[in-house]
């Protein structure tokens, strides 16, 4: 699957508490909650992000608290994929379980904020469209691809049960 979108670039160690700050967790409605997405590090993000955009980050993206609302608000605002040098493991699982394609790539610092990139999730390749430069990334294991393609774990299990 190919995913093309505009990159929002961040550095290392973006914790889940930056992606959605604790003070907003009392908001139950996901749509309203998502108006604070990335608020701990980039207050502009939530108002400027467009559906189809991609997050590109350094190492340890999504470290810290296990809050599933972190990937949930990113999905809600339309983030189509997340590329990072590495991920916090709980965030990684949560994002896959919510149906967000996740790609590990050591060279994310070569992508500039606002650039359009294209991800080939099967090959694990990231192309910077302007320069044509290609970066090598990881691919998801097969069963995670199935979860992402179904739109998340709940949807995946539902489809499985319906088929049975």
């Amino acid at each position: 699957v190919k995913i093309e979108g505009r990159a929002w670039c961040y550095g290392d160690n973006v914790e889940t508490g930056f992606i959605i700050q604790s003070k907003y967790l009392k908001i139950i409605d996901l749509k309203e909650l998502s108006t604070h997405a990335m608020g701990g590090i980039d207050p502009q993000f939530a108002s400027k992000v467009k559906p189809g955009d991609i997050i590109v980050a350094g190492k340890n993206f999504g470290c810290g608290s296990s809050r599933e609302t972190a990937p949930a608000v990113l999905k809600e605002v339309g983030v189509k994929a997340i590329v990072a040098a590495s991920f916090g493991r709980i965030f990684y699982r949560n994002a896959v379980n919510l149906g967000i394609p996740m790609i590990e790539c050591r060279e994310t610092s070569l992508v500039k904020d606002g650039e359009v990139i294209e991800i080939d999730s099967e090959k694990g390749e990231i192309e910077i469209m302007d320069s044509g430069r290609k970066l090598k990334g990881s691919t998801l294991p097969d069963f995670m691809i199935k979860i992402v393609e179904a739109g998340g774990l709940v949807q995946f299990k539902r489809n499985q049960i319906t088929k049975e």
Binding site: N13, E15, G17, F18, Q21, S22, K26, I28, G40, K59, N60, C63, G64, S65, S66, E68, S86, G88, R89, I90, R93, N94, N97, L98, P141, F143, G152, L153, V154, Q155, K157, R158
Partner: protein
């Protein structure tokens, strides 16, 4: 070739019944599931999945634990509502071990109440679930979507992680404490050095350590990215479990020829008291490098350091002294069992006389909703995290330190080497 603890755990729990090697993806049978806040979220996901009445059943009513810890008592109306949702979830499903206003930190209560045993696989919906590794249980934090699957079917997928063996050599004198060792490791090797990995603690200091200190070491594995933080089950573990559980258990040991991705040897005697400077756990430095920083708030508490030994060291240091003027020193036991230990030891009156604000058990000083600061204020805390903004506006700052370092700063009004107070 032998197996690491992580490989042994996952081999034993592998539903396919085959031995597991690093990298293998398996469906594993879980022994328990810990849910604290957001238990009600599982109902929401179940409804999204087409089950209009929410989660239909749990795999074992005695093995799904629901402990409403973060917001007890509820600080506002919205949290009262959230607690109600979680409460209804537990009552509807007939959860045997449901604790409403216990109160305490769920992880401490899971251990206090004997819900975790050596050799068990116990996921939970909080990042510090990894703490049960202190009791030789493989536990880690997960999200609610996959825990919905786990509570219904008693299964969860795992990928067998590579293992880092950390050998703690030395004698474990008065210093350092477990917290100092963890901050030192994160400072030296980076706050993601155990990303996706299992950690095994071994060596003479690991054996010498109290269960409480092992809990601190295991708890903070998530601060360095880890999946499990495991200790061997030994006589201390058996002693701790006595009277807490009647159920049989089978500890997991690594094979002598297990294959480790990395072995880190630590000379514990050479580690000075440490602090993690703002705003990352990995900003660990010897306390001397932060000495002189004026503080407004000091905290001992949480699943990292809210146990009796942590409060007792503060008592030893504060007895006959006073908390510095202008400093708020909050001490919050991790559970009512710890609270009762403090009462039985008679240390609370001295702490109160010294000017400590002693709080009821729970998560309130770490989440936090009772320890906010304002712009420019500085906190030193033995709780879990010091990310920017955790305790207030972005320009408030948080240092992490061991309980002795925190107590010393509370007395001095600034960060100092705790040995100056303890031996001074």
């Amino acid at each position: 070739m032998g197996q690491t603890m992580a490989e042994k755990f996952l081999s034993r729990k592998n539903i396919a019944g085959k031995p597991v090697r690093v990298g293998d993806l398996i469906d594993a049978r879980v022994d328990g599931v810990m849910l604290h806040i957001n238990a009600g979220m599982l109902d929401k996901y179940a409804r999204q999945g087409g089950l209009s009445d929410g989660v239909p059943r749990v795999f074992d009513k005695d093995r799904v634990y629901v402990i409403l810890d973060h917001y007890q008592p509820p600080p506002d109306h919205i949290h009262a509502l959230k607690n109600k949702t979680d409460r209804e979830f537990a009552l509807r499903l007939g959860i045997t071990h449901f604790h409403d206003s216990g109160p305490g930190v769920a992880h401490q209560m899971m251990c206090d109440l004997g819900y975790v045993r050596p050799g068990e696989l116990v996921p939970g919906n909080d990042s510090h679930t990894v703490m049960y590794g202190a009791l030789n249980a493989a536990s880690s934090g997960q999200g609610e979507a996959e825990l919905l699957h786990a509570v219904v079917f008693g299964e969860l997928w795992y990928q067998a992680p590579p293992t880092i063996k950390i050998t703690l050599n030395g004698r474990l004198p008065q210093f350092p404490f477990a917290k100092d060792i963890m901050i030192h490791l994160a400072g030296k090797y980076g706050d993601d050095f155990a990303q996706y990995r299992s950690v095994e603690y071994t060596g003479p200091v690991a054996e010498e350590m109290s269960i409480a200190s092992r809990m601190c070491m295991a708890c903070h594995v998530v601060e360095v990215g880890g999946k499990f933080g495991l200790f061997r089950a030994d006589e201390k573990t058996a002693e701790y479990l006595k009277g807490r559980t009647d159920l049989p258990f089978e500890p997991v040991e690594a094979d002598p020829d297990a294959e480790y991705e990395r072995v880190i040897e630590v000379d514990v005697d050479k580690i000075e008291p440490q602090v993690a400077k703002p705003h990352r756990f990995g900003n660990g430095v010897p306390v001397s490098e932060a000495a002189g920083v004026r503080i407004n708030q000091a905290i001992i508490g949480a699943c990292s350091n809210g146990r009796f030994e942590d409060i007792e060291i503060a008592h030893r240091m504060l007895k006959g002294r006073k908390v510095a003027k202008g400093v708020r020193f909050l001490v919050c036991p991790a559970s009512n069992e710890v609270f009762k230990q403090c009462i039985a030891a008679g240390i609370i009156p001295d702490l109160l006389d010294a000017g400590v604000h002693f709080l009821d058990s729970g998560c309130s000083v770490c989440d936090p909703h009772r320890a906010y600061m304002t712009s420019g204020e500085v906190c030193i805390t033995a709780t879990t995290r010091n990310f920017r903004g955790r305790y207030g506006p972005p320009d408030s700052t948080v240092y992490l330190g061991g309980p002795a370092t925190v107590a010393a700063a509370a007395i001095a009004g600034e960060i100092i080497d705790p040995r100056e107070v303890l031996h001074g």
